[in-house]
Symmetry: C2
Subunit: 301 residues, 2 copies
């Protein structure tokens, strides 16, 4: 057992927002390298219509491949029942459903209000899915590029409803608006309402606060974090700005703090190299990759 | 009164480690723009031998100029009595003396042990300096590229001695080795020993943990932070890696948290533009500069 679980979302959130397509075989090699580095949870793709997001067209094949790698939990995103059915057929072990707490974002994205989207996820939860975990991910939980402020009571209501029928609930700072004080407050509020059903934290580094927010969430009891190798993918709402929290920086921070992740930083750099070689023109990020470990550094036991 | 004080060290720590020289007039324009943005403390230069660090050769002129700008505290670094005397003649209002807690770093850098260097600073403190503040800055307080680990009892001993005769003591993560758990622990230990004499925190962003460490220090009661606009200067010990905590990201984090800095983010971007225009080939950093404020953002009151 490790102290925390880091879920690599690069193959999904990273590639979905990248400018360049990663060939299917390269995805497989990259996912294997991530597993070799010790990642135990990998969000490998998204069951959205291939016409909408061509980068995710091979998700079924990727899920099936990832299932052949021992020791990892294979996660996929689905936006609706059709996507969920495809995820189940492909063999996903956990399916995450994004529900935007921002009414404007939700209506623009899925033509449903947040509460209508919750009912869509409820339908999925009522669909037979023996042994497959369902996560409800409250996106834009800390702010929205369209709506600006997202009322915390909306986040709380959506999270509480999702907790009725999901195995776990995550809070996502989809556009990098969160700050550490807000992170503490919102996680504490939702935790009070749904207890241990609140699991994951998904932060973006758009304004550089990704690690500070992860630290705040950790100190509020969060033990499950999403991140993306090399911060792949950027931010579609802020051209040139960075995207997801950077896996290698996150791992370094926690290991330096004595919080074990089970992830080997050297092997993580190998996985990074594979990704960079396949997508050499894609902007990647990360401080640890440039600086390496401090002299005398010891990872958490 | 603001909740915290941010001291801009770009003109000293940034330029000292930059590859390119900034002309004297450009330094003046930049410092004025920093003051216009609301910076109340600016470390404008270092009284080291000009042959050793040509970028600091004009520090006396810069100090004299900065003293003509109302509302700022003009800070300079001095490594010894000779530098201190030059700082006093030039009109510095606060002089900071670095004392490396790493024996190896200290001996290599100033040919003195840390404790010998403390006595050098004591001599300076005994020199007449009416109205001029003296800060003892414990450098490599969280680790050292030469020595690796720096024992916390060494940091504690140096800080305690410095507190005997300095107006304030700062702890500096000179090479970007610190992590938030260590920051909390070391600041708490030193605070217990010297109380409110412990003031400043100086972090580097070498491994991306700058803001997380600043957050941890803030939560331990620190209210005075060094940072560098655009993270100017990089890290001489890790080529390609970033340097000081980035002023604009630090200001954004605190303002977003509701912690007032007195600094105007728009005007800070103007100061950044001036710096970038003068040193176009110098690597700069910063997430906020790429992403801007979130929609609906309100600075701390």
């Amino acid at each position: 057992m490790t102290d925390i679980v880091i879920c690599e979302v690069g193959p999904r959130d990273g590639l979905q927002n990248a400018k360049h397509l990663m060939p299917t075989n390269a995805k497989k090699e990259w996912i294997r390298a991530l597993a070799d580095a010790g990642l135990k949870e990998i969000e490998v793709g998204s069951f959205v219509p291939p016409k909408l997001i061509p980068a995710m067209a091979d998700t079924a094949e990727i899920v099936a491949y990832a299932r052949t790698i021992p020791g990892i939990k294979v996660i996929a995103l689905a936006p609706n029942l059709k996507g969920f059915q495809r995820a189940l057929e492909a063999g996903a072990q956990k399916v995450t459903f994004p529900v935007s707490a921002s009414r404007q974002h939700s209506e623009s994205n899925v033509r449903m209000t947040p509460d209508q989207m919750v009912e869509e996820v409820r339908k999925c939860a009522q669909h037979p899915h023996a042994g497959v975990e369902i996560e409800g991910a409250v996106s834009t939980a800390f702010g929205c590029t369209m709506q600006g402020t997202v009322p915390e009571e909306d986040v709380l209501r959506i999270a509480t409803k999702l907790a009725e029928f999901c195995d776990s609930v995550a809070l996502a700072d989809t556009v990098g608006y969160a700050n550490p004080v807000q992170v503490r407050r919102v996680f504490a509020k939702v935790k009070k309402a749904i207890g241990n059903k609140l699991e994951g934290a998904h932060f973006h580094n758009t304004r550089g606060l990704g690690l500070a927010n992860a630290l705040a969430a950790y100190e509020e009891g969060v033990r499950s974090f999403d991140s993306s190798l090399g911060g792949l993918g950027g931010c579609p709402f802020a051209p040139g700005a960075s995207g997801n929290v950077i896996t290698e920086d996150l791992v370094f921070m926690f290991e330096a703090m004595g919080v074990s992740t089970g992830i080997d930083l050297d092997k993580l750099m190998t996985a990074r190299k594979i990704m960079v070689q396949v997508l050499p023109q894609e902007q990647t990020y990360g401080h640890f990759a440039l600086a390496g470990v401090p002299k005398g550094f010891r990872a958490a036991a």
